[in-house]
């Protein structure tokens, strides 16, 4: 099989992995090729609007597992292919020097055994880092069940590693991926977390101590394959951030690829809006100091679809508003719909030299359309009249789309 055919099969099989971040680490070019920028660089966007930053590819799609949601499950009749480590390393370098990609996202099906697979992945990473002296970004998947020592040696070569937990609860996971188990995956995450901390500590003392997964770890959950609520998902997310110090949790709207009685029908369309609302909540938790319990609670276990989670929170908490832009703290400003970290910082920076007035809000990057009901500037409320939450809701999320009336 030639490289073109292999690339086709193994890229197609890797596309359901969501993570594509190339940020969070600086690496210098030390005599070889490539470097990494902490801000991350996207190189192109495919027709589904997702960015390509890394060459996201499987080393092999020849899997011994039979996870129900996965295209590569053993019982599927699809073409199988495997790269040799040398082929894949060469492909990465050739793409990289043409500036097609920022680095490599290496994942793989479990071939023969977890240990065998992990060893093969390490061979690729070693070729890149040592033979080609490649200093671009590398994201490597942890193969569940691989020996901790192998995970450790991969971590010394990669910038980011990820263990995909796929489902927020043990029950859902058992239903869909009977050969995987949540406690085992948490054990891998714990190992990564401890090693990352230990190496950070060591680098504080010794400048040349080796780096271990410097861009941190991430994970991914499939949304909509099981009936788990947003509350369950966001709670799990919060736990992952707090307990394992994850850099990112990715959500992947379930795309039906297999016919199975445990799964939504093949004709079901992916729950893209729900995925979007989860990402918004995720951002609120990471950059806006929100807690999962503030966004969803047992009475409202799912996020609203017609308004964003921050607006929903604001409408449930009228007692918090209006916020006086010229006095509020950074944290208070962040609670206002339409104000984000950037505009909040600009407001605070401008306040040092001049008070902020209503007509300046837009210039400071505030989304006036949403913020107008929730702020005052020098005591003046920008909205023409103060409204109650129900009235605001009618304006920001009209019941039905406004349609032009027919003349006849």
């Amino acid at each position: 099989m030639d490289i073109l055919a292999k690339l086709g099969i193994l890229a197609n099989a890797a596309k359901y992995d969501v993570s594509c971040a190339s940020s969070g680490v600086s690496r210098k070019n030390q005599g070889g090729i490539g470097n990494s920028k902490s801000f991350g660089i996207c190189h192109t966007w495919t027709s589904d609007g997702r960015c390509i930053s890394l060459l996201k590819i499987l080393l092999s799609n020849d899997c011994i597992y039979d996870c129900r949601y996965c295209v590569n499950r053993r019982s599927n009749d699809i073409p199988r292919a495997s790269f040799t480590p040398r082929e894949l390393a060469e492909l990465t370098i050739q793409f990289y020097r043409r500036n097609y990609i920022e680095g490599l996202f290496l994942s793989t099906a479990v071939e023969r055994s977890p240990d065998y697979t992990m060893e093969k992945m390490i061979t690729v990473l070693r070729l890149l880092r040592e033979d080609y002296e490649f200093n671009g970004y590398i994201h490597a998947k942890v193969i569940p069940g691989a020996d901790p020592l192998l995970v450790y040696s991969a971590g010394l070569l990669a910038d980011r590693m990820s263990v995909n937990i796929e489902q927020p609860t043990e029950e859902s996971l058992r239903l869909l991926a009977p050969q995987k188990s949540l406690p085992k995956m948490f054990a891998s995450m714990q190992q990564l977390k401890e090693e990352i901390q230990a190496h950070k500590e060591a680098r504080r003392r010794f400048r040349h101590a080796p780096r271990f997964v410097p861009a941190g770890q991430s994970t991914q959950m499939i949304i909509g394959a099981t009936p788990d609520s947003d509350l369950t998902i966001l709670r799990t997310t919060q736990t992952l951030y707090q307990k394992f110090g994850l850099k990112r949790v990715y959500y992947s709207a379930y795309v039906p690829v297999n016919q199975d009685s445990h799964l939504p029908a093949l004709t079901a369309s992916p729950p893209l809006l729900r995925e979007h609302r989860l990402y918004q909540s995720d951002w609120l938790m990471r950059f806006y100091h929100f807690k999962a319990e503030e966004l969803v609670d047992p009475q409202h276990p799912n996020l609203e679809t017609d308004i964003d989670p921050k607006m929903a929170w604001a409408l449930r908490h009228p007692e918090f508003f209006p916020v006086e832009v010229n006095r509020a703290s950074y944290e208070e400003l962040l609670r206002v719909p339409g104000i984000g970290p950037k505009s909040a910082r600009r407001i605070i920076s401008q306040r040092r030299v001049a008070a902020v007035s209503v007509d300046q809000l837009k210039k400071l990057g505030v989304v006036f359309k949403r913020a107008q009901y929730f702020v005052t500037c020098k005591g003046v409320c920008p909205a023409k009249k103060t409204l109650d939450p129900a009235a605001i809701r009618r304006i920001v999320a009209p019941e039905s789309p406004i349609t032009q009336l027919s003349l006849f």
Partner: protein, 281 residues
């Protein structure tokens, strides 16, 4: 008095010097695009590096190093009135000092910050969207950016592709960065001194060796294969990769049956519920 300059950064700074020490400028314009008018007399200012240097250091010391960067970023933009924006911004800067950058919504500051964001944004975008082709011995990339961002790309690629020889060609302005590879003498020199910008009007696109097509085919295949069909969303794609950049992107040059018919096909295969256009009726 309208001051006319030769288009160089030093020329612009010289005009600013004269604005303060000779006669206040009513406006600064590039000599080549200036249309004389009866109301304001004009004068061609000869670029003087010594005077320019004094203004350069004054901005750095009396305002801030960050403000100097801002001025440079606005200078390389293609906004028609950039010189006067800079004049207004520096004027306020000399009064307020470093605090000028806090005054985000001031009419002399806001347009400058906004323009700077556009320039930096485009430079950042091109760090990803630039495509090199191996011409046999050196790498060659073409682009036609909105702003003159070439100076902002040199360091990045000189570090990243340190061991290669490469050319980045700005077709719109007939300029190029030339980087001649890592040699023993330049290894220790700072990254900035290893590349230079020069006039460049060759057209190398047609000289691409056949071997390069193979890598381009691989990339095009990869690009098509990683897209998830049931998430088809060309509007999102257009927002991220505006059409004006696609001419020089390998992955958007899908060979026959032609790119356009290709997107039409996929539209038929994955119909989307029609969304109501914002201004229907």
């Amino acid at each position: 008095m309208d001051y006319l300059y030769d288009g160089s950064f030093d020329g612009l700074l010289t005009c600013i010097y004269h604005h303060y020490y000779r006669e206040a400028a009513t406006g600064i314009y590039p000599q080549s695009f200036y249309q004389p008018n009866l109301l304001s007399p004009s004068m061609v200012v000869e670029t003087d590096p010594a005077l320019a240097d004094r203004v350069y250091r004054a901005i750095e010391e009396k305002i801030s190093a960050r403000a100097l960067e801002t001025v440079y970023h606005v200078y390389i933009s293609s906004a028609p009135d950039k010189e006067n924006l800079i004049l207004g911004y520096i004027g306020l800067g000399f009064k307020m000092g470093a605090k000028v950058d806090h005054y985000h919504s001031h009419p002399a500051v806001y347009p400058v910050h906004r323009l700077e964001r556009k320039v930096i944004g485009e430079a950042h975008r091109l760090l990803g969207l630039l495509r090199f082709a191996d011409m046999g011995g050196f790498l060659y990339a073409v682009m036609a950016p909105d702003h003159n961002v070439l100076p902002l790309l040199g360091d990045h690629f000189a570090e990243r592709l340190a061991g290669e020889r490469w050319i980045i060609h700005d077709k719109k302005r007939s300029l190029a960065i030339i980087y001649n590879g890592r040699d023993s003498s330049s290894c220790k020199s700072p990254v900035r001194s290893r590349w230079y910008i020069t006039d460049f009007s060759y057209n190398l696109e047609d000289n691409m060796p056949e071997s390069e097509r193979r890598w381009q085919r691989l990339w095009q295949t990869y690009f098509q294969k990683v897209s998830i069909e049931s998430r088809y969303n060309p509007r999102l794609q257009s927002r991220c990769v505006p059409h004006r950049y696609r001419r020089y992107l390998v992955e958007f040059q899908i060979p026959a049956p032609g790119h356009d018919s290709e997107t039409e096909d996929s539209r038929k295969r994955f119909p989307r519920t029609p969304s109501i256009p914002p201004h229907s009726g």
